[in-house]
C-alpha cells in the first residue's frame, strides 16, 4: 500500500455532520437529468415534451461525440424541459409511471469480461450511459475513450464536508464493487488505484489488500488531482482518469444486469438541515424530498454537492448525475453588530485572528461573505492553503493580464478546483472561480 501525504490544505471544523444512519426514501414522483451540470458537454436533445421514456432511454447526446449518450434515470413521460439563459438545457423532468419499464442490453458476466475486447467494452459502457462516470484530469471532462490512462484513481471517501461515507455505500456490496473494479482493470490495467484515507481504511468492509493508496492530509487530500500532484514523476501522467467509489458500484451493476442502475446513496447535511443522514434514493431525485423542511428561521441556502465545491441550487431543483450530497446552510444575510470588536469565538477561519482557533469545536458556516471586496494585500493565505503549490494570487494576476503562457507555467492545470484560495482570501477575491474559468477557457480553445 502506498502512502500519500498532502501537506497543505485546510480542515474546516464545520458542524452539521451527517449521521451514519441509512434511510431508504420512497420512490419520487418525478426525477430529472441536468445536462447543464455535466461539465463541457454540448447536449443535443433526443426527446421532446410528452415523449414516453424508459429507464435507460437516451435523453441527450454530446454533440462533440454523438456516441456519448446520457440516459434517462426514470421511466415515464417527459414533463418539462427547462432552459436557462442562452438556451442552456437546465432540466429534463420525467414524471414517473407507476410501473417503470427498462431498456436493457446484454449483461456481461464475469467470464465474458476477461475475453471481451477493450474497444467492445468501451462501446458497451458508452451505449449504457456508464462512460461519463469516468472522468479525466486535468479538466475533469468525461474521459477520452481513445486514451490509455497512466493512472485511474478510484476515490472512495472524501475530506470535503460532507459526501457519502464509503462505510455506508459499500456496506454489503463488496462483491459488486470487486466486479466494477474488474471492469476498470480491463480498461486501465494496473493503473487502477483504490484510494482511501488512513483513518477510514480499517473501517471498510473491503479486503484491505484492495486498497492501493492511503492518503493523509487535510481537505482536499482526497482529490485525485491532489493525489496525482504528489505521485506524478513526469508530465506524461497529467491526463489521468478518476471515478468515485459509488460509480464503480454502478458500473459493476450495469455490467452484471445490463440495466441502467438508478439507485444511489446521497448525504443530506449542513447546519440548516432538519435531519442529517445518508439516504438511498434515485438519480435525479427532487431536492425538496431530500431536504425536508429546513431547520432554523432564516433563509436557507441549498448547495448541491459538498460545502466547498457544490453549486447553488434551489429546493425545487433536482440532484444531478455527479452530485451525491445536498448541503443546507444558513444564508447569513444579516448584519452582525460590532463583529469587528469581538474576539470571534465561533468564527470559522484559516487565519489565527479569531479566538475560535483556540479550539477545534465544529462551527456553523453560513453563506455570508464576511467582508467586502478589496485589492490583494499579499497575505499569502491562498498560497499557504493551495494543495498543489500554485501561487493563486500570482496565477490570478496572470489571468487578468491574459498571460496564457505564464499562468500555465504557474500550474493552472494542476488546480484541483477545491475552492480553498477563494475561501481563505480576506480580500474576498474570487480566485478559485477565476482559475476554474481560465482552465475551462483554455480547454475550449484546445478543443477548437
Amino acid at each position: 500500500m502506498i502512502s500519500v501525504r498532502v501537506p497543505k490544505g485546510f480542515d474546516l471544523p464545520v458542524n452539521g455532520q451527517p449521521s451514519l444512519e441509512l434511510e431508504v426514501l420512497d420512490p419520487p414522483v418525478r426525477v430529472a437529468a441536468l445536462p447543464e451540470r455535466i461539465p463541457f458537454v454540448k447536449p443535443r436533445l433526443k426527446v421532446k415534451i410528452g415523449d414516453a421514456v424508459k429507464i435507460g432511454s437516451v435523453l441527450f447526446e454530446d454533440k462533440r461525440n454523438p456516441e456519448m449518450v446520457f440516459l434517462s434515470p426514470g421511466g415515464g413521460e417527459i414533463e418539462q424541459i427547462n432552459f436557462g439563459r442562452r438556451r442552456v438545457i437546465r432540466e429534463i423532468v420525467i414524471r414517473l409511471d407507476e410501473e417503470e419499464s427498462h431498456q436493457s442490453s446484454d449483461p456481461l458476466p464475469e467470464e465474458a469480461l476477461n475475453t471481451v475486447p477493450r474497444d467492445e467494452l468501451i462501446r458497451r459502457l458508452m451505449a449504457g450511459g456508464m462512460w461519463p462516470l469516468i472522468r479525466e484530469l486535468p479538466f475533469r471532462d468525461i474521459a477520452n475513450p481513445g486514451h490509455r490512462p497512466p493512472h485511474l484513481f478510484v476515490c472512495l471517501d472524501s475530506t470535503e464536508p460532507f459526501l457519502p461515507d464509503p462505510v455506508i455505500y459499500l456496506n454489503g456490496k463488496t462483491d459488486l464493487f470487486g466486479f466494477g473494479l474488474k471492469v476498470l482493470q480491463r480498461l486501465a490495467g494496473d493503473a487502477v488505484h483504490i484510494c482511501v484515507s488512513r483513518e477510514r481504511v480499517d473501517s471498510l468492509e473491503l479486503p484491505k489488500s484492495w486498497v492501493t493508496h492511503q492518503y493523509t492530509g487535510r481537505y482536499p487530500a482526497h482529490d485525485p488531482g491532489a493525489l496525482l500532484y504528489r505521485l506524478k514523476a513526469s508530465a506524461a501522467e497529467n491526463r489521468s482518469w478518476f471515478i468515485t467509489g459509488d460509480n464503480v458500484l454502478r458500473i459493476g451493476e450495469f455490467c452484471r444486469t445490463g440495466v441502467y442502475p438508478v439507485s444511489r446513496t446521497v448525504v443530506v447535511s449542513g447546519s440548516a438541515a432538519a435531519s442529517r443522514r445518508h439516504l438511498v434514493t434515485r438519480i435525479g431525485a427532487p431536492l425538496v424530498q431530500l431536504a425536508g423542511k429546513p431547520a432554523g428561521n432564516g433563509d436557507t441556502r441549498h448547495i448541491a454537492g459538498g460545502l466547498f465545491t457544490g453549486y447553488i441550487t434551489s429546493a425545487d431543483s433536482y440532484l444531478g448525475l455527479f452530485e451525491t450530497a445536498l448541503t443546507l446552510i444558513p444564508e447569513g444575510n444579516e448584519k452582525e453588530s460590532m463583529a469587528l470588536f469581538k474576539p470571534g469565538c465561533g468564527k470559522p477561519t484559516f487565519s489565527r485572528v479569531f479566538a475560535s482557533r483556540l479550539t477545534r469545536k465544529p462551527l456553523t458556516c453560513d453563506g455570508n461573505q464576511h467582508g467586502g471586496l478589496r485589492a490583494c494585500i499579499a497575505c499569502m493565505h491562498c498560497a499557504d492553503a493551495c494543495p498543489v503549490d500554485i501561487l493563486p494570487q500570482l496565477a490570478y494576476k496572470a489571468i487578468l493580464a491574459e498571460e496564457v503562457e505564464e499562468y500555465l507555467e504557474h500550474g493552472l492545470l494542476d488546480c484541483v478546483e477545491c475552492g480553498l484560495c477563494s475561501w481563505v482570501c480576506p480580500a474576498k477575491i474570487d480566485l478559485a472561480e477565476a482559475l476554474k474559468a481560465a482552465k475551462a477557457a483554455y480547454f475550449n480553445e484546445q478543443a477548437g
Partner: protein, 395 residues
C-alpha cells in the same frame, strides 16, 4: 444604542446605493457602516462559505497592536519634556502633556490620510481599503514630537497620495506609504526632522537650563564615539545603557523608542499570523550578521562605531519599530515566503551599513526599508522562477 445606530444606517443606506442621492459616496458609507455592522453581503459564487477574516479585521489587528506604542509614546514625550523643564515626573502629568502634544498629530494624520483615501475612492470608484488606517497610525509614531501640524499633514498626504493612491490604492503600492511620507518630510524639512533638538518637546518655562534638552540621540552618540571597543561605555556615559535603550525612555520619535513594546507587538502579530515571522527574523538576523561582520573588521585604526555590540543596533533608534511594523507590511514586501527571508535579511544588513558608514543619515532603517521595497518585486521574480523550474509542467 446599537438598535438606534442600526436604524440610522439602514435608513441612510438608500441615499448611497445605486441611484441614490450620494451614490458616489458609497465607499465612505460602506467604510463607516462596516465598523459597527458586519456586511450582510452573501457569496454569489462557489465556495459558498468564506473565511470570517476580512481586510478590515486584518488591519484592525495591526492598529490594536500599535496602541501600546502610541500610549507609551505619549507618556515618553511628556516625560522627556517635563524632565527637560525640571518638572515633577509623575506618570499622569507626563502622559497628559504627551497626550496634548501627540493627539493632534494623530488626528491630523487620520484626517488627511483618510481624507485622501475618500477622495480617491470616490473619484476612482474603488472601495476604501483599511490599509490607510494603519498608515495613518504608523506615520505620526515615526515623527519627532516637535513636528509642526502642517508638516504632518503634508507628510501623510504625500505618503498616501504619492506612495499609494497614484498606483491604485492599497494592495497596488510598492512603497510603504507611511515611510514614504516620513522620508518626504526628512528630505524636504531636514531642520524639523533631524538634529539633536527636535526629539524633545519644550513645554514652557522650567527650572533647568534649556540646553539640557539638546542632548544627542543614541545613534549620534554611537556614531561619534572616540574609542574603539568602548562605544557601549560612551553610550552609557551619555545615559543610554542597553536596558534604558530597550525600555525606551529617552528622547526619540514618538512611538519608536521602546524596543520592549515593539518586541511584544511583533510577537503578538506573529502569533495571530498577521506579520510574517520570516521577515522579522530575517531583519534581526541581518542586523546581527552585519553587526558581527563589522566587529570582525574593526581594529584600532578603524572607525570606533564598527566595534559596537550588534545587539545595540536592535535597541537604538527606530530599528525595532521598523522591524515590527514597517518591514512586515505585506503589500510592499515580497509575496513569497522565501523572498521574505532575503528581504528581511537585506533590510537588517542595510540598516547597519547606512548607520555606520553614512554620516549623513544617523538612522538607516527607513531608507533600508524603502530601498528593499523597490527590490521586492525582483526578489519575488527570482524566487518564482526558481519555484516554477521545479514544477512538473502541465500544459
Amino acid at each position: 444604542m446599537m438598535n438606534g445606530l442600526k436604524k440610522f444606517f439602514d435608513s441612510q443606506q438608500r441615499h448611497f446605493v445605486d441611484g441614490g442621492k450620494y451614490e458616489r459616496w458609497y465607499p465612505l458609507f460602506e467604510a463607516i457602516e462596516t465598523v459597527f455592522f458586519a456586511s450582510d453581503e452573501v457569496t454569489r459564487k462557489w465556495p459558498h462559505t468564506r473565511d470570517s477574516l476580512d481586510v478590515k479585521r486584518y488591519m484592525a489587528m495591526v492598529i490594536f497592536m500599535l496602541l501600546p506604542a502610541l500610549f507609551f509614546g505619549m507618556y515618553n514625550v511628556g516625560y522627556q519634556s517635563r524632565l527637560a523643564s525640571g518638572f515633577t515626573l509623575d506618570v499622569l502629568p507626563c502622559f497628559w502633556l504627551g497626550f496634548k502634544a501627540v493627539m493632534p498629530l494623530v488626528i491630523v494624520s487620520y484626517a488627511f490620510g483618510f481624507g485622501w483615501e475618500i477622495v480617491f475612492a470616490v473619484v476612482r470608484r474603488h472601495t476604501i481599503s483599511e490599509g490607510v488606517f494603519v498608515s495613518a497610525m504608523l506615520f505620526p509614531l515615526t515623527l519627532p514630537p516637535t513636528t509642526p501640524l502642517w508638516q504632518a499633514a503634508l507628510g501623510i498626504s504625500f505618503g498616501v497620495v504619492i506612495g499609494k493612491e497614484i498606483f491604485g490604492g492599497t494592495g497596488r503600492n510598492f512603497l510603504n506609504p507611511a515611510l514614504t511620507g516620513r522620508a518626504f518630510l526628512y528630505f524636504a524639512y531636514p531642520v524639523q526632522m533631524s538634529g539633536d533638538a527636535v526629539w524633545t518637546l519644550l513645554s514652557g518655562v522650567g527650572e533647568t537650563a534649556v540646553d539640557a534638552v539638546t542632548s544627542a540621540t543614541p545613534l549620534v552618540v554611537a556614531a561619534t564615539a572616540k574609542t574603539a571597543g568602548a562605544v557601549e561605555e560612551t553610550l552609557a556615559s551619555a545615559g543610554f545603557t542597553f536596558s534604558s535603550l530597550f525600555l525606551g525612555r529617552y528622547p526619540a520619535s514618538i512611538g519608536a523608542s521602546s524596543t520592549l513594546l515593539c518586541l511584544i507587538g511583533a510577537v503578538a502579530l506573529i502569533i495571530i499570523g498577521v506579520a510574517s515571522y520570516r521577515i522579522i527574523i530575517g531583519d534581526i538576523l541581518g542586523v546581527l550578521a552585519m553587526g558581527f561582520l563589522l566587529n570582525l573588521i574593526a581594529n584600532e585604526s578603524s572607525m570606533p562605531y564598527l566595534s559596537l555590540n550588534p545587539f545595540y543596533h536592535l535597541v537604538m533608534g527606530g530599528a525595532a519599530f521598523g522591524i515590527a511594523y514597517m518591514t512586515t507590511d505585506p503589500v510592499s514586501a515580497p509575496d513569497l515566503h522565501e523572498a521574505r527571508w532575503i528581504y528581511g535579511f537585506l533590510i537588517g544588513a542595510l540598516t547597519v551599513l547606512i548607520r555606520v558608514f553614512n554620516p549623513a543619515f544617523p538612522e538607516g532603517i527607513m531608507l533600508a526599508i524603502l530601498f528593499m521595497n523597490v527590490f521586492a518585486p525582483l526578489l519575488d521574480h527570482i524566487v518564482v522562477r526558481m519555484k516554477l523550474k521545479k514544477r512538473i509542467p502541465n500544459v
